[in-house]
């Protein structure tokens, strides 16, 4: 018995939808994976973390792939909604990551506000992680008694926060 024309059309639509869905899903997965891995895995490698280009390139590749799938889906009138959603995920991942790396990261007060080389570092007294008070003078004085040792220097590392 021959299949009806409408059943054939449905089969054809399913055959077209599967690869489109796979392409759109792969694109979204690559882009979202590039976004998440930048914060979870990449910090282990300073070079990759500092540039961020690899993750942005991967996210762009994912967005392109899912965008291509979206165009094909609209042309084929198949899997349009799911392709649209997945392309949205991919493009949002790319936009957020690129915005974080190329725009947000540069939002800093001017460096000219900072204490200049040659200036005198202001004294301070702050609690360490054991609750013990430490002062700059005390840190610099450590080891000063030994005339044979070089004068103690202190490397003050300001970081954004423990969160």
């Amino acid at each position: 018995m021959n299949a009806s024309p409408s059943a054939e059309a449905k089969d054809g639509a399913r055959t077209t939808a599967r690869p489109l869905f796979a392409m759109a899903f792969a694109g979204a997965a690559i882009a979202f994976g590039a976004f998440v891995s930048y914060f979870v895995i990449v910090p282990r490698w300073e070079g990759l973390r500092d540039s961020g280009h690899l993750n942005v390139a991967l996210a762009a590749l994912g967005a392109l792939l899912s965008g291509f799938a979206l165009v094909r889906a609209f042309r084929a009138r198949s899997a349009r909604v799911v392709s649209f959603v997945l392309a949205g995920v991919a493009v949002a991942s790319l936009a957020l990551l690129a915005g974080y790396i190329y725009v947000l990261s540069y939002e800093l007060p001017p460096a000219s506000n900072a204490l200049a080389v040659g200036g005198i570092a202001p004294a301070f007294r702050l609690e360490d992680s054991n609750g013990t008070e430490r002062s700059l003078g005390e840190l610099l004085a450590r080891g000063a008694a030994g005339a044979s040792t070089p004068p103690r220097w202190v490397l003050l590392v300001f970081f954004r926060g423990p969160w």
Partner: protein
Amino acid sequence: MQRHLDEFGALAVDVVAISGGSVEEHAALAASIGAEYSILSDRDGAVMADYGVEHPDAVPLIEDPVARPAIFLVGSGSRVLASWLTDNWRVRAHAGDLLAEIRALRSTASR
């Protein structure tokens, strides 16, 4: 920093980190990363302001004072011998670069 702490120690340099976090948060951080250097709490941001590195309204929902990442090498008489200021808060000076510059400064100072 922790991985290079011995190298800083060999150059008679003490590493001291500062943020606006609480003592308890810093204790948890030190335990999680195995930090053996001091992490100081600048709860009101006064020290950040004194050093000109405060970053107001830096992070939404975080009420603690936040500093721009900045590193100062302080020597005798509290004089600032070098500083490393990033223009991108994701990218900080690497320990290897800091050590190389400190070695050069030590070498110059000993002449």
